[in-house]
Protein backbone atom coordinates (compact mmCIF):
# COMPACT_ATOMS: atom_id res chain seq x y z
CA UNK A 1 0.00 0.00 0.00
CA UNK A 2 2.63 2.48 1.09
CA UNK A 3 4.98 1.31 -1.62
CA UNK A 4 2.38 1.76 -4.34
CA UNK A 5 1.57 5.22 -3.03
CA UNK A 6 5.22 6.07 -3.12
CA UNK A 7 5.55 4.75 -6.62
CA UNK A 8 2.63 6.84 -7.71
CA UNK A 9 4.18 9.93 -6.11
CA UNK A 10 7.65 9.54 -7.51
CA UNK A 11 9.39 7.44 -10.09
CA UNK A 12 12.12 6.52 -7.65
CA UNK A 13 11.75 7.04 -3.97
CA UNK A 14 15.45 6.58 -3.06
CA UNK A 15 16.12 9.42 -5.43
CA UNK A 16 13.44 11.55 -3.82
CA UNK A 17 14.89 10.88 -0.40
CA UNK A 18 18.35 11.79 -1.66
CA UNK A 19 17.09 15.04 -3.10
CA UNK A 20 15.39 16.03 0.13
CA UNK A 21 18.48 15.04 2.09
CA UNK A 22 20.72 17.00 -0.23
CA UNK A 23 18.49 20.01 0.04
CA UNK A 24 18.39 19.97 3.79
CA UNK A 25 22.15 19.52 3.96
CA UNK A 26 22.75 22.47 1.74
CA UNK A 27 20.47 25.02 3.32
CA UNK A 28 21.82 27.39 5.90
CA UNK A 29 19.49 26.44 8.69
CA UNK A 30 16.64 24.10 9.30
CA UNK A 31 13.18 25.57 8.93
CA UNK A 32 9.73 24.34 8.04
CA UNK A 33 9.76 26.40 4.93
CA UNK A 34 12.99 24.82 3.76
CA UNK A 35 11.67 21.36 4.51
CA UNK A 36 8.52 22.04 2.51
CA UNK A 37 10.62 23.36 -0.32
CA UNK A 38 12.85 20.30 -0.07
CA UNK A 39 9.86 17.99 -0.22
CA UNK A 40 8.51 19.84 -3.18
CA UNK A 41 11.83 19.43 -4.94
CA UNK A 42 11.97 15.80 -3.88
CA UNK A 43 8.73 15.33 -5.69
CA UNK A 44 9.41 17.41 -8.82
CA UNK A 45 13.07 16.87 -9.52
CA UNK A 46 13.00 13.07 -9.93
CA UNK A 47 9.96 13.38 -12.15
CA UNK A 48 11.82 15.79 -14.31
CA UNK A 49 14.98 13.74 -14.23
CA UNK A 50 13.09 10.53 -14.95
CA UNK A 51 12.66 11.73 -18.47
CA UNK A 52 16.34 11.03 -18.96
CA UNK A 53 16.31 7.51 -17.56
CA UNK A 54 17.40 5.15 -20.21
CA UNK A 55 16.75 1.85 -18.62
CA UNK A 56 14.63 0.79 -15.74
CA UNK A 57 16.22 -1.29 -13.00
CA UNK A 58 14.58 -2.80 -10.02
CA UNK A 59 15.64 -2.36 -6.43
CA UNK A 60 15.20 -5.33 -4.13
CA UNK A 61 16.05 -5.43 -0.48
CA UNK A 62 18.01 -2.66 1.16
CA UNK A 63 18.90 -4.76 4.17
CA UNK A 64 22.48 -5.62 3.13
CA UNK A 65 23.35 -1.98 2.42
CA UNK A 66 24.83 -0.91 5.79
CA UNK A 67 26.94 -4.03 6.11
CA UNK A 68 28.19 -3.69 2.63
CA UNK A 69 29.09 -0.01 3.05
CA UNK A 70 31.01 -0.92 6.13
CA UNK A 71 32.89 -3.64 4.29
CA UNK A 72 33.72 -1.33 1.47
CA UNK A 73 34.83 1.46 3.77
CA UNK A 74 37.08 -0.91 5.62
CA UNK A 75 38.49 -2.36 2.42
CA UNK A 76 39.22 1.08 1.14
CA UNK A 77 41.07 2.08 4.25
CA UNK A 78 42.92 -1.16 4.62
CA UNK A 79 44.18 -1.58 1.17
CA UNK A 80 45.00 2.07 0.70
CA UNK A 81 47.78 1.54 3.10
CA UNK A 82 48.98 -1.46 1.16
CA UNK A 83 48.93 0.51 -2.01
CA UNK A 84 50.78 3.32 -0.34
CA UNK A 85 53.54 0.93 0.46
CA UNK A 86 53.51 -0.43 -3.07
CA UNK A 87 53.64 3.03 -4.54
CA UNK A 88 56.41 4.27 -2.33
CA UNK A 89 58.42 1.09 -2.58
CA UNK A 90 60.48 0.03 -5.58
CA UNK A 91 58.38 -0.47 -8.67
CA UNK A 92 59.84 -3.89 -9.44
CA UNK A 93 57.69 -5.31 -6.68
CA UNK A 94 54.57 -4.50 -8.66
CA UNK A 95 53.28 -7.14 -11.11
CA UNK A 96 50.21 -5.66 -12.73
CA UNK A 97 47.88 -7.20 -15.29
CA UNK A 98 44.37 -7.43 -16.69
CA UNK A 99 41.75 -9.91 -15.57
CA UNK A 100 38.36 -10.69 -17.00
CA UNK A 101 35.85 -11.03 -14.20
CA UNK A 102 32.75 -12.95 -15.27
CA UNK A 103 29.62 -11.30 -13.97
CA UNK A 104 26.50 -12.92 -12.61
CA UNK A 105 24.75 -9.72 -11.75
CA UNK A 106 22.65 -8.31 -14.58
CA UNK A 107 20.94 -5.33 -12.98
CA UNK A 108 22.63 -2.22 -14.39
CA UNK A 109 22.58 -0.36 -11.09
CA UNK A 110 24.28 -3.32 -9.58
CA UNK A 111 26.91 -3.47 -12.26
CA UNK A 112 27.52 0.25 -11.86
CA UNK A 113 27.87 -0.10 -8.13
CA UNK A 114 30.21 -3.07 -8.51
CA UNK A 115 32.40 -1.22 -10.99
CA UNK A 116 32.57 1.77 -8.70
CA UNK A 117 33.52 -0.35 -5.77
CA UNK A 118 36.19 -2.16 -7.69
CA UNK A 119 37.61 1.13 -8.79
CA UNK A 120 37.46 2.69 -5.36
CA UNK A 121 39.05 -0.22 -3.62
CA UNK A 122 42.80 -0.19 -4.07
CA UNK A 123 44.67 -2.57 -6.25
CA UNK A 124 41.93 -2.81 -8.82
CA UNK A 125 40.51 -0.54 -11.46
CA UNK A 126 37.58 -1.67 -13.56
CA UNK A 127 38.58 -0.79 -17.06
CA UNK A 128 35.82 -1.99 -19.33
CA UNK A 129 32.55 -3.84 -19.54
CA UNK A 130 31.78 -6.06 -22.49
CA UNK A 131 28.85 -5.00 -24.59
CA UNK A 132 26.82 -8.00 -23.42
CA UNK A 133 27.66 -7.14 -19.80
CA UNK A 134 28.94 -10.60 -19.04
CA UNK A 135 32.57 -9.74 -18.32
CA UNK A 136 34.26 -6.92 -16.56
CA UNK A 137 37.85 -6.13 -17.40
CA UNK A 138 39.78 -5.31 -14.25
CA UNK A 139 43.32 -3.99 -14.02
CA UNK A 140 45.11 -5.33 -10.98
CA UNK A 141 48.29 -4.01 -9.45
CA UNK A 142 49.19 -7.44 -8.14
CA UNK A 143 48.50 -10.30 -10.48
CA UNK A 144 50.03 -12.89 -8.17
CA UNK A 145 46.71 -13.38 -6.43
CA UNK A 146 44.36 -12.81 -9.35
CA UNK A 147 42.21 -15.86 -8.76
CA UNK A 148 41.76 -14.96 -5.12
CA UNK A 149 40.95 -11.39 -5.95
CA UNK A 150 38.23 -12.45 -8.39
CA UNK A 151 36.75 -14.73 -5.84
CA UNK A 152 36.81 -11.97 -3.26
CA UNK A 153 35.14 -9.50 -5.58
CA UNK A 154 32.41 -11.97 -6.35
CA UNK A 155 31.77 -12.93 -2.76
CA UNK A 156 32.32 -9.66 -0.91
CA UNK A 157 30.73 -7.27 -3.37
CA UNK A 158 28.76 -8.99 -6.06
CA UNK A 159 26.66 -11.24 -3.86
CA UNK A 160 25.27 -8.54 -1.56
CA UNK A 161 24.78 -6.30 -4.58
CA UNK A 162 22.68 -8.99 -6.22
CA UNK A 163 20.42 -8.88 -3.23
CA UNK A 164 20.04 -5.12 -3.43
CA UNK A 165 19.70 -5.03 -7.21
CA UNK A 166 18.14 -8.32 -8.21
Amino acid sequence: MAASLLRRLTPSWPLSVSVVAFWMLMTDSFSVGQLLLGLLLGWIVPRFAARLDREYARIGSLRPVPRMLAIVAWDILKSNVIVAVQVLGPEKNIHPGFVWVPLDIQNIHGIAALTSMITLTPGTVSAALTDDRRYLLVHMLDMSSAEAAIAEIKSRYEKPLMEIFP
Binding site: M26, N80, I94, S126, Y135
Partner: protein, 145 residues
Protein backbone atom coordinates in the same frame (compact mmCIF):
# COMPACT_ATOMS: atom_id res chain seq x y z
CA UNK B 1 37.46 18.94 24.69
CA UNK B 2 38.37 21.53 22.07
CA UNK B 3 41.96 20.42 22.15
CA UNK B 4 40.96 16.82 21.66
CA UNK B 5 38.84 17.77 18.71
CA UNK B 6 41.73 19.79 17.39
CA UNK B 7 44.04 16.87 17.63
CA UNK B 8 41.56 14.48 16.08
CA UNK B 9 40.82 16.81 13.21
CA UNK B 10 44.50 17.48 12.72
CA UNK B 11 45.16 13.79 12.48
CA UNK B 12 42.35 13.39 9.99
CA UNK B 13 43.75 16.27 7.99
CA UNK B 14 47.24 14.89 8.06
CA UNK B 15 46.05 11.47 6.95
CA UNK B 16 43.93 12.99 4.21
CA UNK B 17 46.65 15.25 2.97
CA UNK B 18 49.11 12.40 3.04
CA UNK B 19 46.84 10.34 0.84
CA UNK B 20 46.36 13.26 -1.53
CA UNK B 21 50.10 13.67 -1.73
CA UNK B 22 50.55 9.96 -2.08
CA UNK B 23 48.14 9.85 -4.99
CA UNK B 24 50.08 12.58 -6.71
CA UNK B 25 53.43 10.96 -5.98
CA UNK B 26 52.18 7.68 -7.32
CA UNK B 27 50.97 9.35 -10.42
CA UNK B 28 54.34 10.92 -10.99
CA UNK B 29 56.44 8.00 -9.94
CA UNK B 30 54.85 4.96 -11.55
CA UNK B 31 55.91 3.99 -15.02
CA UNK B 32 52.83 3.27 -17.02
CA UNK B 33 49.31 4.60 -17.25
CA UNK B 34 47.47 1.62 -15.80
CA UNK B 35 49.77 1.65 -12.84
CA UNK B 36 49.50 5.37 -12.37
CA UNK B 37 45.75 5.40 -12.54
CA UNK B 38 45.53 3.43 -9.34
CA UNK B 39 47.19 6.04 -7.23
CA UNK B 40 45.12 9.16 -7.67
CA UNK B 41 41.79 7.53 -8.32
CA UNK B 42 41.54 6.19 -4.87
CA UNK B 43 44.30 7.69 -2.79
CA UNK B 44 43.30 11.18 -3.76
CA UNK B 45 39.63 10.44 -3.46
CA UNK B 46 40.12 8.99 -0.05
CA UNK B 47 42.41 11.81 0.95
CA UNK B 48 39.96 14.46 -0.12
CA UNK B 49 37.26 12.51 1.67
CA UNK B 50 39.29 12.73 4.87
CA UNK B 51 39.86 16.44 4.41
CA UNK B 52 36.17 16.91 3.82
CA UNK B 53 35.33 15.05 6.98
CA UNK B 54 37.81 17.17 8.85
CA UNK B 55 36.21 20.25 7.37
CA UNK B 56 32.78 19.12 8.52
CA UNK B 57 34.16 18.63 11.97
CA UNK B 58 35.97 21.91 11.94
CA UNK B 59 32.93 23.93 10.98
CA UNK B 60 30.69 22.02 13.33
CA UNK B 61 32.88 22.32 16.41
CA UNK B 62 35.32 25.14 15.88
CA UNK B 63 33.97 27.42 13.17
CA UNK B 64 31.27 30.02 12.90
CA UNK B 65 29.22 28.17 10.35
CA UNK B 66 28.13 24.80 11.65
CA UNK B 67 26.92 23.06 8.51
CA UNK B 68 27.83 19.54 7.40
CA UNK B 69 27.57 20.55 3.73
CA UNK B 70 30.90 19.02 2.83
CA UNK B 71 29.22 15.63 3.01
CA UNK B 72 27.57 16.51 -0.27
CA UNK B 73 30.93 17.08 -1.84
CA UNK B 74 32.04 13.69 -0.63
CA UNK B 75 28.98 12.09 -2.10
CA UNK B 76 29.51 13.71 -5.46
CA UNK B 77 33.19 12.84 -5.42
CA UNK B 78 32.42 9.21 -4.78
CA UNK B 79 29.89 9.11 -7.59
CA UNK B 80 32.02 10.87 -10.15
CA UNK B 81 35.46 9.44 -9.44
CA UNK B 82 34.59 5.99 -10.83
CA UNK B 83 33.09 7.53 -13.94
CA UNK B 84 36.34 9.34 -14.57
CA UNK B 85 38.46 6.32 -13.87
CA UNK B 86 36.33 4.06 -16.00
CA UNK B 87 36.46 6.40 -18.94
CA UNK B 88 40.15 7.09 -18.62
CA UNK B 89 40.83 3.37 -18.58
CA UNK B 90 38.69 2.90 -21.63
CA UNK B 91 40.56 5.67 -23.41
CA UNK B 92 43.88 4.19 -22.41
CA UNK B 93 42.78 0.79 -23.64
CA UNK B 94 41.78 2.32 -26.94
CA UNK B 95 45.20 3.86 -27.35
CA UNK B 96 47.05 0.78 -26.16
CA UNK B 97 49.01 -0.51 -29.10
CA UNK B 98 50.34 -3.77 -27.78
CA UNK B 99 49.48 -6.14 -24.96
CA UNK B 100 45.87 -5.22 -25.20
CA UNK B 101 43.66 -7.75 -23.44
CA UNK B 102 41.60 -9.93 -25.72
CA UNK B 103 37.97 -10.56 -24.79
CA UNK B 104 37.38 -14.08 -23.47
CA UNK B 105 34.82 -15.45 -25.91
CA UNK B 106 32.61 -14.19 -28.54
CA UNK B 107 31.89 -11.05 -26.76
CA UNK B 108 32.93 -7.58 -27.75
CA UNK B 109 33.76 -4.22 -26.31
CA UNK B 110 33.17 -1.24 -28.51
CA UNK B 111 36.08 0.94 -29.51
CA UNK B 112 38.54 -0.28 -26.94
CA UNK B 113 39.63 -3.84 -27.23
CA UNK B 114 41.17 -5.58 -30.19
CA UNK B 115 38.54 -6.91 -32.54
CA UNK B 116 38.67 -9.11 -35.61
CA UNK B 117 39.66 -7.22 -38.75
CA UNK B 118 37.89 -6.83 -42.06
CA UNK B 119 34.48 -6.42 -40.63
CA UNK B 120 32.17 -4.14 -42.56
CA UNK B 121 30.79 -1.35 -40.48
CA UNK B 122 27.80 0.79 -41.14
CA UNK B 123 28.69 4.22 -42.34
CA UNK B 124 28.00 6.29 -39.34
CA UNK B 125 26.90 9.33 -41.25
CA UNK B 126 24.40 7.45 -43.33
CA UNK B 127 23.13 5.88 -40.22
CA UNK B 128 22.66 9.23 -38.64
CA UNK B 129 20.82 10.56 -41.63
CA UNK B 130 18.55 7.55 -41.52
CA UNK B 131 18.03 7.97 -37.89
CA UNK B 132 16.91 11.49 -38.59
CA UNK B 133 18.21 13.06 -35.46
CA UNK B 134 15.32 15.03 -34.21
CA UNK B 135 13.77 16.53 -31.19
CA UNK B 136 15.05 19.45 -29.23
CA UNK B 137 16.51 22.31 -31.06
CA UNK B 138 16.24 20.55 -34.37
CA UNK B 139 12.49 20.26 -34.17
CA UNK B 140 10.34 21.45 -36.98
CA UNK B 141 10.33 24.98 -35.71
CA UNK B 142 12.82 26.17 -38.24
CA UNK B 143 12.25 23.52 -40.79
CA UNK B 144 11.08 25.81 -43.49
CA UNK B 145 12.40 26.68 -46.89
Amino acid sequence: MIDLIQIALSLLLIVGTTFVLLGAVGMVKLSEFFRRVHAPTKASTLGVGCVLLASVGYHLFLGQDPQPRELLITAFLFITAPISAHLMSKAALALMRDARPVPPEDTEISATVARPRGEERVNRNEERVERGVSGGARSEWWGEE
